[in-house]
Amino acid sequence: MATQPEKPDVPDEKLVRRAQRGDMVAFEVLVGRHRDKIYARAFSMMRNEDEAVDLSQEAWVKGWQRLKQFQGESSFVTWMTRIVINLCLDQLRKQKRQRAESIEHLEEELGGVERQMPTVTVNPTAGLERTELRARIDRALNLLSYEHRTVLILHEFEDLEYKEIAKRMQCSIGTVMSRLFYARRKMANLMASYKREELS
């Protein structure tokens, strides 16, 4: 379909009900509305544009197929975000199985490095504009291992509880807690180092 049918006044709930009855145009409007958010979630987890595009598209296809199961307990975009997260987690698990675990990675998993880091006492983001702050967060996220990044995204951006993260990542609550702890420590120190870079 060449032209995007914009329906700014129609709420998501109404479009979802129409799409549930097989209205593809209504679904197209929903995709147009939320494609960036769904893509952004896939990209934040995968850190790769092509994979993020593919997985977000797959999420929309699955969303259409499972639309009848959507009961409206959460918002449509939250429901779609959960679908794309699950697809990303599956993909990351497949990739993890394929790559050999390095000693550095194991060290990071055990928090060997993060535990030695100095505690950050001053907010390293104070006075930053939002765009710059987001750019720095993005830069720091890029340097985290996928386990640390994923747990941080699910907790801080998706507001999931430890138990729910453990279920989705197929690991124990203890593992979630330690990963989150090390991810935060590393994040705080990276942001502090960016602040030092700026000042020097």
């Binding site: 593809m24 995709v31 893509y39 197929q65 942001m191």
Partner: protein, 178 residues
């Protein structure tokens, strides 16, 4: 502070501790400067992350993106439309496979039972076998070995053999039954 205490502290900051434990942790933090520093860092990190998720824009046009989704949906629906027949066949095969297996086993069991029964009948018959020779010119001598499962009949011309008084010198025919 050990790792266990640090993780518990984090759980307290995240509001994941039960009420009683949360009260204990609050008291613990009050008297521990190291714990207070760590709590400070955890709160700073939570604070700058909240609501500041990096944004990413789709690196291709919306129309192109949608066209790929639409094509994938239509393709899946075509597969699904064919699927009822295919799944019916598949279900039928799944049902028939064990039934066929059972039928084959039953058939082989009956067959082997009949073969062995026939063999035992044959064995019994072998024990009772007699060679009836109605010819006046030809004589016969039979030999049976049960261990070898073998039955041999020698036929000879009576006039020649009896004249020479050597019945097995020139057998005219022999038959092996095994």
């Amino acid at each position: 502070m050990n790792l266990e205490q640090q993780l518990k502290l984090q759980a307290w900051v995240d509001g994941e501790l039960p009420e009683a434990e949360a009260r204990q942790m609050a008291a613990f933090v009050q008297g521990q400067s190291e714990a207070q520093t760590l709590v400070g860092e955890l709160r700073i990190t939570k604070g700058f992350l909240a609501g500041n998720e990096p944004e990413a824009k789709l690196p291709e046009s919306g129309d192109f993106y949608w066209s790929k989704i639409q094509r994938a949906i239509e393709q899946e629906e075509k597969v699904a439309a064919r699927a009822p027949g295919a799944s019916w066949t598949f279900a039928w095969r799944r049902l028939m496979a064990p039934i066929s297996g059972v039928a084959l086993i039953a058939f082989l069991s009956v067959l082997s039972f009949n073969v062995f029964r026939q063999q035992s009948v044959d064995d019994g018959a072998n024990l009772l076998v007699e060679v009836e020779n109605l010819s006046e010119d030809i004589g016969s001598i039979s030999y049976r070995s049960q261990s070898e499962n073998m039955f041999v009949v020698y036929l000879y011309k009576k006039d020649v053999q009896e004249a020479e008084n050597d019945p097995i010198a020139e057998p005219v025919d022999d038959t092996f039954l095994q």
